[in-house]
């Protein structure tokens, strides 16, 4: 175990799997010599060469579309989209083709494609560079969606994603790339897709979070502790398929739920979390108070002036916790 950042976890995992399996290749904008704009592919070009670490033309739809073909031909492509906002440019390939090919071909054409993309804001980036619309990918049947919060989970989930016979979107916490540090196991290490994780135990209220929001949740929990409220934090890790078992266990214990979501509120993934808990009889009857969402407002992601006010903060999360605990 070593302490690494998220971006180091990504890089080492890619290097590990590329060394192990020569079918694995990386393609995307600027993934080559410069090692990706966040250095997530740093050094791969030098080790594995241009064919397996491919600086693609500036065309997201062609990146995903050709990754589909590469997979059909026998390769295991990992496509990087430089910022999540630009997955919009490839939406047709992702939602209509990548996600549906196994189904369309009635099982005859599985696509082991991984899409990695930095996700969310908080680093004062320009417009379109801070998008968080994971909800949409979770609404595309045929796609799995993971959103790790720690370096270890980043390694474990990325490795699982690459080896998964189906397409997986790996949403990497942009603002955590360098800020979030943590222990990461060496060598073989996978985290199963579809398993949530209790990141912190507590008794009075459950905060459900994923990706960068897990940090926010933990800080809110610490604050809550000082006020005598014991908060459990469930890190979903995987959004599709969601681990209702772990969620319901926590809800059964605390009876109170706060969901954190960086994206703008309306139709975000928090709504699915709430609806899923609501419609699960065991979960529902354990609830002692209405669940609360803490989300970004329904404006576009703002320019840098308002960024901090836009984001979900430990303070906002704490207020929601106290509200539900006192409801």
């Amino acid at each position: 175990m070593r302490e690494v950042t998220i971006v180091e976890a990504v890089r080492e995992t890619l290097a590990y799997e590329m060394a192990r399996d020569e079918r694995v290749m990386v393609l995307g904008e600027d993934v080559g010599k410069t090692g990706g704009v966040f250095r997530a592919t740093d050094g791969l070009y030098e080790t594995f060469g241009r064919d397996r670490v491919f600086d693609a033309p500036l065309a997201e739809s062609a990146i995903i579309g050709s990754a589909i073909g590469l997979a059909v031909s026998g390769m295991i492509p990992i496509a990087e989209i430089q910022f999540m906002g630009f997955t919009h440019n490839a939406m047709n390939q992702i939602a209509e083709h990548l996600a549906r090919m196994r189904y369309r071909s009635w099982g005859s054409m599985p696509l082991p494609v991984t899409i990695r993309t930095p996700y969310g804001g908080g680093v004062r980036a320009p417009e379109m560079h801070s998008d968080a619309f994971e909800a949409f990918f979770t609404h595309c049947p045929g796609l799995k969606v993971v959103a790790p919060a720690t370096p270890a989970d980043t390694k474990g989930l990325l490795l699982s994603a690459i080896r998964d016979p189906d397409p997986v979107m790996v949403l990497e916490p942009l603002r955590g790339y360098r800020l979030i540090k943590g222990e990461m196991p060496d060598g073989e290490y996978t985290v199963p897709i579809g398993k949530a994780h209790v990141a912190r135990e507590g008794a009075d209220c459950t905060i459900i979070a994923w990706s960068a929001q897990v940090e926010v949740a933990k800080r809110a929990a610490e604050e809550a502790d000082k006020q005598g409220v014991s908060v459990e934090v469930v890190d979903l890790r995987t959004l599709v398929p969601m681990d209702m078992e772990t969620v319901c266990e926590s809800v059964a214990k605390t009876g109170r739920v706060v969901v954190l979501q960086e994206a703008n509120k309306t139709s975000g993934f928090a709504a699915e979390v709430i609806a899923s808990i609501h419609e699960d009889d065991d979960c529902f009857y354990a609830l002692k108070a209405p669940m609360v969402r803490v989300c970004g407002p329904d404006t576009p992601y703002p320019v840098q002036y308002f960024e901090e006010e836009y984001l979900v903060t430990p303070d906002k999360a704490l207020r929601a916790v106290l509200k539900t605990v006192n409801a």
């Binding site: 062609a62 390769m75 054409m109």
Partner: protein, 363 residues
């Protein structure tokens, strides 16, 4: 600085687009020293054209009777798909269809029963059999072009000796996916043939409204790859130009864009009513350029074909179609429950639950 209809303007340098390649004229005369294939091969090609034609006709009939779903026949365009498929090696080269290429797909190895099932709206029609190098038909215009490029690129990386061909229409050349993929193909020198069937229409939109480019072949200039315009109703021209492009691709020289001039002698789809927009004389004008007639005329002249042989061929094709159609009808209808197993390699808990619901286990 004005360009003439078939001229291209490069910063003031005007270039004439060369005329489309033709090896057989409408009357069936050979316009080359040698035919590009043996008479035997040509007869095989003729039979494939006929099978495609009769398959499409039968399916339209069955669709009108309510036994099939909306479908897009390739009537009049069969030389494009068959001729290009003939230039491939089935065991290693990939044929990536749009939705109008049944003739070529059958030639390349799609079992006839599956083609029927596809048009019946059965999911089994979409399951590509082991060993058939093909993707299922794609209802989204141009979305498959990057797939074809990706396959070709992957084959090249793995040093597998294969090329791919993607078929698409004139309308598809307006889609971002076509351009992005073709440009990428140029960069990686992917062994791919981009085969555009310019049938003059994209549903009701005429070719002239699709692009101001006088030819679609010249779009190749945007990708730094060769582009060539051919007579798409001439099996020999299609075969020979594709064959050369395949050779080029196999030799590592990269992609080629082929624009085949053809015409939709049939219908856009069974859901369309062309009388609303298509000047009736156009179809008439094109009838004489029918690729089947043309090849028959040529082979008749060579003594390889005559009316009797033609009839026998028709009967054989009919018998083949009837047998496959019977098989298709007898094919088991998959259960909706099965569809939940086709989303991922393993069902998620939610899918399992939904499967149980759909199968009525928890009504």
């Amino acid at each position: 600085m004005k360009t003439m209809p078939n001229q291209i303007d490069f910063g003031g340098v005007l270039v004439d687009a060369p005329p489309p390649v033709q090896l057989l004229d409408t009357a069936g005369n050979l316009r080359a020293d040698q035919p590009p294939m043996t008479d035997e091969q040509a007869m095989e090609g003729l039979r494939a054209l006929l099978l495609g034609r009769r398959f499409d006709e039968l399916c339209i009939l069955l669709q009108r009777r309510g036994q099939m779903v909306t479908l897009a026949p390739g009537i009049g365009q069969e030389a494009c798909t068959v001729g290009s498929a003939m230039a491939l090696r089935r065991d290693r080269d990939w044929f990536i269809p749009q939705y109008r290429e049944a003739a070529g797909q059958l030639y390349h190895g799609l079992p006839l029963v599956q083609a029927f099932l596809w048009h019946m709206g059965s999911p089994i029609g979409f399951a590509i059999p082991e060993g058939v190098k093909m993707m299922p038909f794609n209802a989204g215009v141009a979305g498959h072009v990057p797939h074809a490029v990706g396959i070709a690129w992957g084959l090249k990386q793995q040093k597998k000796d294969g090329v791919t061909i993607a078929h698409f229409g004139d309308g598809a050349t307006s889609q971002g996916d076509f351009y992005e993929a073709a440009n990428l193909a140029g960069v990686v020198k992917a062994p791919v043939i981009l085969f555009c069937q310019n049938n003059e229409w994209a549903i009701s939109t005429p070719r002239s409204l699709q692009s101001a480019a006088p030819t679609l072949a010249q779009k190749a200039a945007a990708f730094g790859i060769p582009g060539i315009q051919i007579d798409g109703n001439d099996l020999f021209a299609v075969y020979e130009v594709t064959r050369r492009a395949v050779e080029r691709a196999r030799a590592g020289e990269g992609p080629t864009l082929i624009e085949a001039l053809t015409y939709r002698l049939g219908i856009h789809t069974t859901a369309d009513d062309a009388s609303r927009y298509e000047p009736s004389h156009l179809k008439e004008d094109w009838k004489d350029r029918d690729p089947i007639l043309r090849l028959q005329r040529h082979l008749e002249r060579r003594g390889t074909w005559n009316a009797n042989i033609g009839e026998a061929m028709e009967a054989e094709v009919k018998a083949q179609l009837d047998a496959a159609w019977a098989d298709a009808q007898a094919s088991p209808i998959p259960n909706i429950g099965e569809s939940f197993t086709k989303v991922f390699a393993e069902m998620t808990p939610r899918l399992r639950e939904q499967q149980a619901q759909a199968e009525g286990h928890d009504a």
